[in-house]
């Protein structure tokens, strides 16, 4: 087997462009929305209100118990039969955010629970109500604990965006499918797409280490 290097180099440009215009913004937006959902769901699960906690528990259970591809298909291909037609991009963002929200909720909940009870008491002692205590004392400390697992979630998400090629989102993997179909060079283009995902994830891991160092700066950490 020979490698068609000219095609390889010619396709790097379009694939990188699709990553910058599709994969990365899709991952960032979905992650941001997903984190909002995740914090809300985690707090709901910790709520004293049984109903709210129950709803959050159900949401997490459904998301974790069903495949992402099914969510994408339900939103994009399923909802139109209920009269609700959503474009590829918004569909992808909805499904991915819901997915991230469900997974990250458990991470956030565990991180909140990991903060020493004494921190809650100290916050109450200085007169903070529960909400302020969460925002000013507990969540900043939980963030430190949650960063490594959430980075994992984010890296998975970047790769999961490739599934949205199946609902016609023009992200990087869809681009590689298009070029491969045109040139019939399937092996080359799919491996190339894989390499580009790897490069993105390497960059993210570097970012993760920097962020962890930053968050660890005020605690004595064993290294």
């Amino acid at each position: 087997m020979t490698i068609d290097w000219p095609l390889f180099w010619d396709s790097v440009g379009p694939l990188a462009a699709a990553a910058i215009a599709g994969t990365i913004p899709l991952a960032l937006v979905s992650f941001a929305l997903g984190m909002v959902l995740a914090v809300a769901a985690a707090l709901a699960r910790l709520s004293r209100n049984r109903l709210i906690a129950g709803v959050a528990r159900l949401y997490i259970s459904v998301i974790r118990g069903t495949p992402l591809l099914v969510h994408l298909f339900v939103v994009f291909y399923g909802l139109p039969s209920l009269g609700l037609t959503i474009d590829p991009w918004p569909s992808a963002i909805i499904a991915l955010s819901l997915n991230v929200g469900g997974y990250a909720a458990e991470v956030v909940r565990a991180a909140i629970l990991s903060v020493d009870k004494g921190q809650w008491e100290a916050a109450y002692m200085v007169g903070m109500p529960r909400r302020t205590a969460l925002r000013r004392v507990i969540l900043p400390q939980a963030a430190r604990v949650a960063t490594p697992p959430l980075s994992n979630t984010f890296i998975s998400l970047v790769k999961d965006t490739s599934l949205t090629s199946l609902i016609l989102v023009s992200e990087m993997f869809r681009k590689s499918q298009e070029i491969a179909a045109f040139t019939q060079e399937f092996m080359l283009l799919y491996v190339e797409a894989g390499l580009l995902y790897w490069v993105i994830c390497l960059a993210l891991s570097t970012g993760q280490s920097a962020m962890e160092r930053r968050l660890d700066r005020h605690v004595a950490v064993a290294r």
Partner: protein, 313 residues
């Protein structure tokens, strides 16, 4: 809950009546009564595990006794009724009680993600909404008194245990509570530091609690630092002639802390001061100069429990 009128000197600043608390079938507090007037320093002595911390935490609403009433600075909370109350109301009452006190935890619990200065100003700025410059100025002054001016920008994990403890004390004092609960107030730094430390929590605040071994002397030292004289032989501990701060025993210390323990609420006489009280409660003797309350007390926080957490119209 019955909001009582503002403190008059005659009325105890802090009163605990018939407070009981059990963990499972382990009865830790059994109908404890305690009254502390302004100007009193109270030491509660007891074996480890006899319930001193539990009593203190109850004063701060961090523990919910099964029964009994705690009144602090005009806020009365009936814990017996609290169990049946709606969670939101119970939270409000606990919060109102917290407004009237402060404490230093046995393990300090400083905020690790904030500098020493931010630890101290967190309550004044975020909760009491006082202007930043004013809060910081006061924080620097308090830190200076405990010899920690140069650590204002350090993070807690860089401090020694004793330094963390002093930050804990300053954090409690910066809240300007009515009876401040300062526990385990000092390890034993150089004696000069220690005296400053005591002075710090005696002067600007309205009271303090001390927890730790070897601090039976604390109240006396407090007098010493302030008025330059220990009470002489035969001089009654409650004698206020020499000092702003009087030291006296709790007037009514009935009830037992823990079954079988020899815990007492008692003033330690100078002769027995080698025996260590586990904590002491100090309340300055001067009634507030202004009838409307302590001059520095945040007027936005009304003493009435029922209204204290409700937004202003």
């Amino acid at each position: 809950m019955s909001p009582s009128p503002a403190n008059t000197p005659a009325e105890p600043l802090l009163s605990v009546s018939a407070v009981s608390k059990a963990f499972g079938d382990h009865q830790v507090l059994r109908a404890v009564d305690l009254e502390v007037a302004r100007g009193e320093v109270v030491a509660i002595i007891g074996a480890s595990g006899s319930g001193k911390t539990t009593l203190l935490r109850s004063l701060n609403g961090l523990e919910t006794p099964d029964a009994g009433v705690v009144t602090a600075g005009g806020v009365a909370v009936d814990f017996g009724a609290l169990a049946a109350a709606k969670p939101a109301l119970a939270d409000r009452q606990r919060a109102a009680l917290r407004d009237k006190s402060a404490m230093v935890f046995q393990h300090y619990h400083l905020f690790p993600h904030r500098t020493v200065l931010q630890n101290v100003t967190e309550g004044p700025i975020v909760v009491q909404k006082r202007p930043r410059e004013e809060a910081e100025r006061e924080a620097y002054a308090l830190l200076k008194r405990v010899g920690l001016s140069d650590k204002a920008d350090a993070y807690p994990h860089r401090l020694s245990g004793g330094q963390q403890q002093r930050v804990g004390i300053v954090r409690a004092l910066a809240l300007k509570p009515e009876p401040a609960a300062v526990r385990r107030a000092h390890v034993r730094p150089r004696s000069g530091t220690r005296r400053r430390c005591v002075a710090a929590h005696a002067r600007p605040c309205r009271g303090g609690m001390d927890h730790g071994r070897g601090h039976a002397r604390t109240p006396i030292r407090t007098r010493g630092c302030h008025a330059g004289g220990l009470p002489g032989r035969g001089q009654r501990a409650g004698d206020r002639s020499a000092t702003r701060y009087s030291v006296s025993r709790a007037r009514s210390a009935r009830g037992s802390l823990s079954a079988g323990s020899r815990t007492r609420c008692k003033w330690q006489s100078p002769r027995r001061r080698r025996r260590c009280p586990q904590w002491a409660l100090m309340v300055p003797s001067r009634p507030s100069a202004r009838p409307g309350g302590h001059p520095r007390w945040n007027p936005r926080r009304t003493p009435d429990v029922a209204h204290s957490r409700q937004p202003k119209e």
